[in-house]
Amino acid sequence: MALGQPYLLFGGRGEWMAPSGSGADGSLTLGHPPGADAAAGWLAGDAGAMLARQRGPFSLEVEGRAWGTRYQEETRYTAAGLTLRPRIELEWGGWLLGLQGEEVRGGWEQEQEVLVLPAADGEESPPAGAGNSDRKSKSKGKGKNKGGKGGSGSDPGTVEPGPDPAPVLERHTLSDDLRLRGGSLDLARSLGPAWLRVTAGRYLANNGFADGSYSGIDAEFGYAVGRWAGGVGGRWWRVPGGRADVALPEAGFHAEAQLQLTSALSAGARLERAIRDPLYGTPGGTAAHLGLSWKLGEHGGAVRAVVAVGRQTDEGRRVEFRIRAPDAAQVALVGDFSAWQPMPMRERGGYWEGEVILGPGTHHFAFLVDGETWTVPPEAPGIADDGWGRHNASVVIPS
């Protein structure tokens, strides 16, 4: 198993996700072979947004995504697609059964510089290497070759004796539709710290590189203990073999391990034999990855928490309290920590906020609105009956 040329990868990813599962994300990755010249690297990026809705066991995701790669300063590949992904998920006896459909509609375009070898009779011959790659052979008759620029300056209608004309670089653009339609059935189960999933799928793809039917089965097993997580998986698929009536079997596998070093830093290793991807059409291959991932930060999210436990100070832990009461004239925080004396809160955009330094222990509290109404938001932690027909919330500060 030859791994070939090593690459260094450096990238970043940003993601925003609403509690419903809808969200947007984007990433940028720079890859470069060590020791090679600056032009040998590639830059890839993608950006997408997804709308997700769920009702009981049914869910629907609508996703729009664009992605692209610039390779060796000569090749530029861009694609965009809209995906519809309905899913139904049922639980039975500890097993989770999922049935998922997927429909992708979009397009791709690739620009690259190719050598054009003028023929001896003065006619232009096809670009060097034409027909030698999956992509070009699949785009024959489909792709729209927009031609290129450049040229030798010779009169194409004149044949002059002498040395062979030099090849010239021309810029060619290929484009085509991007389509994927299919579905999968998956069965998953947690077994304590381990989990198991088997997936069977079938897709019809039009990606301009390897169009046709993809069908097969995946099996994965994972295990997590302490700060370690790992998994192995295998897959066996039949993928288009270059002719409409030919399907080739491809087998793949992966083995990976991840160590959570801190809450923000993790290290991972992965060995993989990938098979041809039906959406991108890129051929499979073997790869080994070693990497570090650093999470720069995490936003609090769309839902503003009633209690947010913050950083440690000399006197205790800083805790923020927040309640939405846009119609209130005054709101006070009251709790064990104030001997149940009202602590006025400050209003900000319909929310009332206050901050307290709390020592270790369980602290009960409630909010007093306009000096007479005791209230606790339903999303507050530790809600309990106070024994007198009202409710308190509580927050625990560990020692």
Binding site: L96, W195, H254, T282, A305, G361, P381, W388, S399
Partner: protein
């Protein structure tokens, strides 16, 4: 005066003095114990906010709790809460006595090694409806350095959300396996509540959050996007996808040309 009368008559002043000295010492010791049991500031607040009869009842409950080795701070706080909420004093006295009973039961449940913080949290959890057996199992399986009071608090939160006790214990077991980070633990009830709002059954919601935690992810990631299903976050079935990354969508580069100039894509 007979022999005994003469002897006791000579001893009587000494006995009388000894008696008073002993009584004085006993009173001082008892008073000292009394003063150590109750913070004067707490007593002052109780006396200032309650009628004399209710204040005496509350002080007696505090003394009994202290003699039993129970934490008294939550009892004082409960009394002050009742005063703030203008609850009739007899009801405050009853509530404080009930809380003392809850603390006693919690301490018995946790065993003799439990500290005040764990005892208070367990009493809270029992009052909120958490099953005693679940609290006992959590305590028995607690790891060294684990904030057991927070663990019990979150357990009670999950029970209050309708999560079956075993499912709640399973989520907490997953959290322990991944390093028992308190910050992560606080996110569990919020994540479970969100999944339930989205239509998942309480048991399924707990299972998803537990699976997300086991996979090293935030509890908030449970059930989102391509992370449906238990275990691994990547739910996509497309072959060749990177199943170790959630929603891995980074594009694969085109097959590289061998060198510049040859032009083979």
């Amino acid at each position: 005066m007979n022999f005994w009368s003469r002897r006791t008559a000579r001893l009587r002043p000494r006995l009388t003095s000894a008696f008073w000295i002993f009584a004085l010492l006993a009173g001082m010791m008892g008073g000292a114990v009394h003063a150590r049991a109750q913070n004067p500031a707490d007593l002052e607040q109780i006396r200032s906010r309650f009628p004399a009869a209710a204040a005496r009842s509350l002080e007696q409950t505090l003394r009994e709790a202290e003699r039993s080795g129970l934490p008294t701070a939550p009892l004082v706080a409960k009394a002050l809460e009742g005063a703030a909420k203008q609850v009739p004093p007899p009801q405050v006295v009853a509530a404080v006595r009930q809380l003392a009973g809850d603390l006693r039961r919690a301490r018995t449940l946790l065993g003799g090694r439990a500290g005040a913080g764990e005892t208070i949290a367990a009493a809270d959890a029992l009052r909120r409806g958490a099953p005693a057996e679940g609290i006992r199992r959590l305590s028995a399986a607690a790891q060294s350095g684990e904030p057991l009071d927070l663990t019990v608090h979150v357990y009670a939160d999950l029970i209050a959300q309708g999560i079956p006790p075993d499912a709640a214990l399973e989520v907490l077991a997953a959290w322990r396996e991944r390093g028992a980070d308190p910050k992560l633990l606080r996110e569990v009830p919020t994540a479970v509540a969100r999944r339930v709002r989205e239509g998942a059954s309480p048991a399924a919601a707990a299972a998803e959050v537990g699976a997300a935690v086991r996979a090293g992810q935030s509890p908030a990631s449970a059930g989102k996007g391509g992370s449906k299903g238990k275990g691994n976050a990547a739910g996509k079935a497309q072959p060749g996808g990177n199943s170790s990354q959630k929603n891995a969508k980074s594009p694969k580069p085109p097959k590289p040309p061998n060198s510049k100039g040859k032009g083979r894509p």
